[in-house]
Symmetry: D2
Subunit: 295 residues, 4 copies
């Protein structure tokens, strides 16, 4: 019966890399938040304080910047794969590297074809990737977060289980709103940008057009449609806070409120999470082991 070191990892979190591509006067912009995490033979660092196997997190930051120059940032998935492969192949003690990237999208001022080097940040969703390289293998998970959507009709919630603590009324017409997080795992390399655009569009289309009997059902339909549209995606995880909008009682003021005035509440919120997958999906391995899972 001894006390031992268990699973462990370390890295550099939230390196804010901005890459400008210049084609004469016309610029392209990549605005990233990069986190790298290494796993491997780091027992001596913990138990004896011997750092001989530890590549500094400062070096990981430098590497993130250097790789933004060469090979550059075509798409975040390529960039993350390159970084993770480097750590596993070139840093002896490392057997697994995980690179998580958030990309903040920017629009050209004046719209597509507009100003050559002036941009306005599109505050809509954040595009994400989480790449894991373990020895010879690699897994690519892509996603989005903070995509805030709302339906002001076409959503009900009824026929639910009731117990002694249930006071909620059934409703056949309510506001349904969420800030969607989605992550999907690829079976093979894809045209990342094209796949992203398609998945995003399918998610929005299904959210809008599925008559919702509950957020669970909307999420499942959204996930299913993604897998139907993209054969190269094996599973998708959806996490969605149910951002409640409560109808305000205006009767004391002599006013009717036929689904017009709502209070948008902050907390608490529902939190609905599910995975939709192919029944013959390849093993996920460490693909989902985010740094957050440690916290």
């Amino acid at each position: 019966m001894a006390i031992v070191l268990g699973p462990n990892q370390y890295g550099k979190a939230e390196t804010r890399v901005v890459r400008v591509y210049r084609d004469g006067n016309v610029h392209l912009l990549r605005d990233l938040n990069v986190s790298t995490t290494l796993r491997g033979d780091f027992e001596a660092a913990h138990v004896q304080g011997d750092q001989a196997n530890v590549l500094p997190t400062d070096t990981q930051k430098n590497t993130a910047y250097a790789f933004a120059s060469e090979p550059g940032i075509e798409e975040i998935e390529d960039y993350a794969l390159g970084l993770a492969r480097h750590f596993v192949d070139d840093v002896g003690p490392v057997h697994t590297a995980r690179v998580e990237v958030d990309e903040y999208p920017w629009d050209r001022i004046g719209g597509p074809g507009g100003h050559p080097h002036a941009f306005v940040r599109s505050g809509q969703e954040v595009r994400t990737t989480a790449v894991t390289v373990q020895r010879e293998e690699a897994w690519v998970v892509s996603g989005l977060k903070d995509l805030v959507v709302l339906k002001s009709s076409g959503s009900e919630f009824a026929g639910f289980l009731r117990d002694d603590y249930t006071t909620l009324q059934e409703t056949t017409d309510r506001i349904l709103a969420t800030a969607l997080t989605a992550q999907w795992r690829y079976a093979e390399p894809a045209d990342w940008a094209d796949a992203y655009a398609e998945v995003r569009e399918v998610l929005l289309e299904r959210f809008a057009n599925v008559h919702s009997l509950a957020l669970q059902q909307s999420l499942f339909e959204m996930g299913k449609a993604v897998l139907e549209a993209r054969q190269d995606i094996e599973e998708i995880r959806l996490s969605a806070p149910n951002k409640h909008h409560f109808l305000v009682d205006l009767a004391p003021f002599g006013l009717a409120n036929p689904g017009e005035v709502f209070h948008a509440d902050d907390r608490p919120y529902g939190l609905i999470q599910c995975v939709v997958q192919r029944d013959d999906a390849s093993p996920a391995g460490p693909a989902w082991e985010s740094a957050a899972a440690f916290c």
Copy 2:
């Protein structure tokens, strides 16, 4: 030599009002964060604890919801004027009311003419208004905040004052980025939505096309162009953090960095603030006395 009550005000902050307009199946959405503040004869409330003159902040919240139903929310400026006028006219002890509104814009899923009642939040800027009604008078300030813009060229900073603590190098090509806050005061009622759209467009256009010798100069040109475009605007205030992007030194890794790879820093940041106004502007009165000024 006595201890006395000085300026004071109170109100309800951040009431989250969502208003749905239904034209058959086609819905419109107004998503607001409303803060109301009252000034008047509230000395007894402070000094004797006598609340006879104090309209509860809970009532102010109720009123914000009721007015969202009737007269409704045409534009946030109209709505705020109606609320503020009500407090001054109908609540005896109140001589001044200030109503501040943030509006979160939403896009229709599928674009203009798209889905009738499904929306995605446009995360770009937040539209704002701050209306002050004092007895018979009224002032309308409109604005925007969190409009994040970036130029990857067309910006320099040189010829500045140097002292013993100056180490900064001059540059003739740098990234210029900010999260713009702008507030403008109207001389008279306007077509609020139209004015907003025009001011926003002028601000973006000038930010993009002015060759910037410093953020101060860009801001002044942006403000000046707004006043030139809109005769009904008397002054505009601009507040802009200089969100620094530092060129990363890649030389240790054998890489050149000709304006390509940057570190986006969080803190510290420059903070540039100025007012651009007509020299015959009408008195601003209490138009700029925000609740934040008290903090």
Copy 3:
């Protein structure tokens, strides 16, 4: 009728300065967030883009670090006065400098007299100062923010004004909770640390022991007691969100709720703000013109 530059200022915001004092093995820690703002002859910078009068904000940051070394940081008020005086005296175009400092307090691990150089951050309040130097004159405002306090009894709210939108019930026993911001202006230099400790203690004591008829009354009594305790303080500003705690209706579950179970709500919140001052206070000049007032 021309378009002209109005009030303007610029500076470096949120420079995070940490200063360690070493007396052998025993260390002292100062952990600051420093913002400097300059006003003066900066018209050419805005109108012509001529930066000859503009001391870079980068230089202001350097100066904040250099002054943390020499003369050092005895108390934040001394440090801010030194910095502001330097900018006004030594930088030609500057006629007014404002230095705002937040200090994050730390406790020694093991308590007073405990570990010589290991600390745990005391998350209670943040200590603040805002010093304004204008030519020969200086104003010192000190304060605190984010001091979260709660009374679970000794607070009522009744006898208030009612109108058509009032639904609130009167109460003679409620939870009163706030996150206090206080700022007080000194008539003359003081023992800053001693004054801070005394004001903080008076504020807490009065919050606790005044039987509250409303938050307005509590704040006034708190402010009044500070002015009674400290002759060197001329006025105090208090800003306090009323953080509502709503009694939960447990009757549907067959449970009484005699002031025991509450929902702590986020938004909206009341916001109560007042100034308590001496009727013969010296002119405040620009003492209260914070950078935030521009936004």
Copy 4:
């Protein structure tokens, strides 16, 4: 090859429960943020939109409030165990319930034995628990987060692995600072409050007194000491951002900087995470499957 529902869960997040205990005039306060998550037979809810098995998240919120009354909140672990056991035993479709609770500690104004019902929030750490009940079994994880600690000496970082991207200098005396998150799993029920106090003290003591060769080593020593002190704890997870403090170069201003003036940087930061455990620990089962792991 079909598309199927994978793992899924749902619940109510961040219910803000405040419980007052009244012993005459002397009150005790429990200030909680409660999240409940259910897993079970919810396939029909997703696939057919049939909610017959779904206990509304609104009901979960009601239950959290009701249980705060009866049986009440002795310690957060007891409260969470009671809630989770109820969901599994009394709600048919549920086989697993997870209850996560954050507790915000408050101090009595005037110190221990001070004011009977006036409190000031201790902003130091947040106490946490995450209880999982699966059919007949239960797992209790307790922890803390946001415990911000700093050593201004007794920390070095040298002898590390270097590669082509390494520019970091070795140091034998640096600031070591972090915001600690720790979570430990119990083998059996404990005196939760006593255990919490002891673990917290051990963590602080080891952070302070271990001469640190790296944050990895400090964390391992902290975790090991906890397991040595408490036989009822089987494993502990530590997650610690390395909050970098960079020595400022004051040489351009003619000033030495012998470890005195630092810039506290925001991003990027190192992130060091490890588990310390007994080699004969009981199976962790679903104990660590936080809601966050889904995102």
